[in-house]
Symmetry: C2
Subunit: 341 residues, 2 copies
């Protein structure tokens, strides 16, 4: 019998999530049955999409979290006991279940074996994991860059955005990105190779439209949308004919008590022949091999920079999550729960 400590959702946040919305409990885990594994969780991921699961009665692609019940999400773990031939004791695995807790029993099919020598284990929650796949899908499958085109990435210093920017450069694009602090803007321009980074807090629609037009007088060809709101409006003002937009998220609205109106210039979608594709990465899992084949070598060659904000200990998970919406995290936010055995 193994105990697990779990972080629970005590209440649905009305606006910004706060520590009092979270609780914890310790329960006994059943032994793994045939086809299952028991893992010790080493790293867990916090991601903006989880906010969407903290609303009751919302029809979405994943069911809402339940009040008083544990949260869940992506995690890297080490197999303690395996009742599936796919894994041996000691194997390192990554999967979409097992976060927000320190031990987990679940189907082996939810996990993939990872190699700790290829990259740090936490990278499998970031650049080599779901956020990395998300960035790559948005660029390679939706925006489909042509060399010399212009890309704008909102939320550019985040886990997804920072890779989207660097993939844009890899594909030969002029890349603009936005973030919410001078430090992030500097990192984007100096480390990530972004041609021009904006601190969106210093702009309104008019000034951002003007600033984008100066960099891209012929218009923006690709837009990787993580934020929504004012930036989407500025992009709709500056998008080139035939522009493509990958809608990955709109974090600016996730904690609104009541929904904010959208941009007033959607008509430009018509006149400029714009294509928008919304996507959730779990529908592109069949492309993981193609993603890994393209991105892992870039990482190994040091051509992709990635930052992590590491929170130490399971009890810090709520802070890590709340930090996503306060702009406190840099790059991928992860929680370190245990050392490998």
């Amino acid at each position: 019998m193994t105990e697990t400590r779990q972080i629970t959702l005590e209440d649905y946040p009305a606006g910004m999530p706060a520590p009092e919305h979270f609780g914890h409990r310790t329960v006994d885990l059943p032994d793994p049955q045939d086809g299952e594994v028991l893992i010790r969780v080493l790293w867990m991921s916090v991601d903006p999409y989880m906010r969407g699961r903290m609303r009751p009665n919302v029809k979405s692609y994943i069911p809402p979290f339940q009040k008083g019940e544990p949260l869940d999400g992506g995690a890297v773990g080490q197999v303690i006991k395996s009742k599936d031939p796919k894994f041996a004791e000691g194997d390192f695995v990554v999967g979409f279940a097992g976060g927000w807790r320190d031990h987990h029993v679940g189907p082996a099919s939810a996990y993939t074996k990872v190699d700790p020598n290829l990259a740090p284990l936490s990278a499998y929650l970031g650049v080599l994991g779901m956020p990395g796949l998300t960035a790559w899908v948005g660029l390679s499958q939706i925006i489909k860059p042509k060399e010399g085109e212009v890309l704008y990435v909102s939320g550019a210093a985040g886990a997804v955005g920072s890779l989207a920017c660097q993939l844009g450069k890899h594909y030969g694009m002029t890349v603009m990105g936005s973030a919410g602090s001078a430090e992030k803007v500097e990192w984007l321009e100096k480390e990530a190779g972004v041609d021009k980074a904006f601190n969106y807090k210093e702009h309104d629609v008019v000034s951002l439209t003007k600033a984008i037009s100066e960099i891209a007088p012929k218009g923006v060809d690709g837009y990787f949308e993580n934020v929504g709101g004012m930036q989407l409006e500025a992009i709709l003002n500056t998008v080139a004919f035939g522009g493509r937009m990958a809608f990955c998220g709109m974090i600016s609205g996730y904690n609104n008590d009541k929904p904010e109106p959208g941009p007033s210039n959607l008509i430009n979608i018509v006149g400029r022949g714009v294509m928008i594709q919304g996507f959730i990465v779990s529908n592109y899992m069949n492309l993981v091999p193609q993603f890994a084949a393209e991105v892992a070598p870039l990482l190994a060659a040091g051509k992709v920079k990635f930052e992590e904000t590491i929170y130490e200990g399971l009890d810090k998970a709520p802070d890590a999550f709340i930090g996503l919406f306060r702009g406190e995290n840099f790059g991928k936010a992860v929680v370190k729960i245990a050392e490998p055995a």
Copy 2:
């Protein structure tokens, strides 16, 4: 020397266009030069997109009309004098130039010969012309229907919308459509074969969302957008996963003095993996043969119903145009300028 009477734009309308924004003048036409034709205009088209050309300094895919200068647009005419081997005297032609006037000299390359025995001449401005091509492109090239899917067409009783609805039925879809009068709703359900038509004036977002969900409990797969505003918001509430939206126009906003905010639920584009493609039909002219091959037989077999609102005489052109935004026209609005010789 031939005289032509032309309708001019006397002033840029600030909101709804009114008779005082239009004027007229009579000028002498030059003789056609090599490669040109002189036509007598028989029918002219009024289309919502023309409103977009009545704004100065707007960056768009076609230049704005100039103050004091004649308007222009699609027309059917008869060749009076031809300096191009493509056409003989007496031929009937359709083209994107020659509207808003009774005679016109221009390049023969702007015109295509049409057969008055295949369909009434005015149909080449409607179901067999630009609006028909627009409907067909939105359905066949963007929405790409699968049998059994659900389609919603806003502006369903208009020139484009009414064909979009009927093509939807032809492709085996369940079709909903909206219009602005009880008479149009009745025509859609009784004549055009639409499964459920709504009078949008009797709905708000909440009631329309509910009404759509009752017809399409699994969601709307295809949306043909002519109107924008409240209906787009209701569709974003009810769109199925993987829904496709053809953005053809947003007439609800064309006469706004200042732009109205967009819908507050754009985030559903992400979670439901929605694809939106804005389009202007002039970029799909290479598909005219495919369009004609598919739609002309449907028309000949009486499988496509189309309505026309006919205004008699060139001087009625401004009324015809204004009627587009007052919801006064049924089906395709055309102006009859002269009888064939």
